[in-house]
Symmetry: C2
């Protein structure tokens, strides 16, 4: 056990969707490094890790994104802008890359994993037939989002999950249109501003009895 | 700061997709209670919390689900089976419930929140026009999934995220077809069996340089 239940709940109650970041405060390198490692460790279905994470600190680049993020300043005022991207059309090459990595880490041969490869390729073919390849990859990226927000809050880092952006514009500015990836979701990270009135508002959640049912 | 960076990384390295649970070990009530509280606190877009979480401990019910979960025994052998469900068609009633809850928690009036309600309803209408209402709700449930798996690992609880199930059958057996909800994803929780050979395999993740890019 790495944390107590009360530490966990305290972190979740402390966090909120930060509306105003303090642009003068930067996340220390060792803390950010741990958060990057947590991203790398994110679980995904079949372990496919269908994502690339962009970490943007360049100020001019971030300012150029603000107009395409519903003018939300968090994109430019945070310490590190995390952009989660996924393939538009998850290809079989993603499966092969994963199989190759399994062999690299655990040993064995690609041939010995042919059964696994066929099973995952069959799953992929079903997604493809339903036009769900990008949707499925986005779902995986939201696992990363959920994990990242909790990880950050445990380390005292504020975040703001953001779906309010124009993916086409982000993809164009970030050059993703050339890579086959698309922007799935944003998560600016940094430190809340003392001026953010949202920081002290009571958190709004449904009551447990209204969202959890026991059988 | 509620945890150290090394505690966070240790928890993420300790966790894995548990293939064999020890059916004799049950999560203590105080730990499970904290995990339920963490679920309630999960962030979501617009704070809409478009989910109901089913926690299933009834053994006969869980056994009846196994055949529809690719025969994966985790569903029956875990301590607590968490079933994340979302509305098939997120209605405006979900927005109204959220607005009512804001007023309940923070005070004020529904009328004063008319602007917020209209904005969210406009977003919902766009999703509806694109046939994306269920997909969007599922994305939110994956935030809960990502957060839950990390929360559990911090408290020493094993989990196994599962997409391998027949949603229609789960919905039928759980009576969701009558409620307008559908099964989004499963996450059995409990304790790994000493016989689970997957527990000690090296974790397979791409290298940081292959999934994280700095700008």
């Amino acid at each position: 056990m790495s944390a107590s239940a009360s530490d966990l709940i305290a972190a979740l109650k402390w966090r909120y969707a930060t509306k105003v970041f303090d642009p003068t405060r930067k996340i220390p390198a060792d803390i950010w490094s741990a958060l990057e490692e947590s991203l790398v460790l994110t679980p995904s279905s079949f372990g496919l890790q269908p994502w690339k994470f962009l970490v943007i600190q360049d100020q001019a680049l971030r300012e150029s994104l603000v107009p395409h993020a519903w003018k939300q300043r968090q994109v430019a005022d945070c310490s590190h802008l995390l952009v989660m991207t996924v393939p538009r059309e998850l290809g079989e090459d993603c499966i092969d890359a994963n199989i190759a990595r399994i062999v690299e880490v655990r040993g064995g041969t690609t041939d010995a994993l042919a059964g696994l490869r066929n099973m995952v390729a069959g799953f992929r073919a079903q997604l493809s037939a339903k036009g769900q390849l990008m949707t499925w990859a986005k779902l995986q990226s939201y696992i990363a989002l959920g994990q990242f927000m909790l990880a950050a809050s445990l380390l005292g880092i504020d975040t703001c999950p953001m779906e309010g952006f124009v993916a086409e514009k982000f993809d164009e500015i970030l050059g993703l249109d050339k890579t086959g990836h698309t922007t799935a979701v944003l998560c600016p990270a940094g430190y809340r501003s003392a001026a953010d009135k949202y920081a002290t508002l009571p958190k709004v959640r449904f009551e447990s009895k209204d969202v959890i049912e026991h059988r």
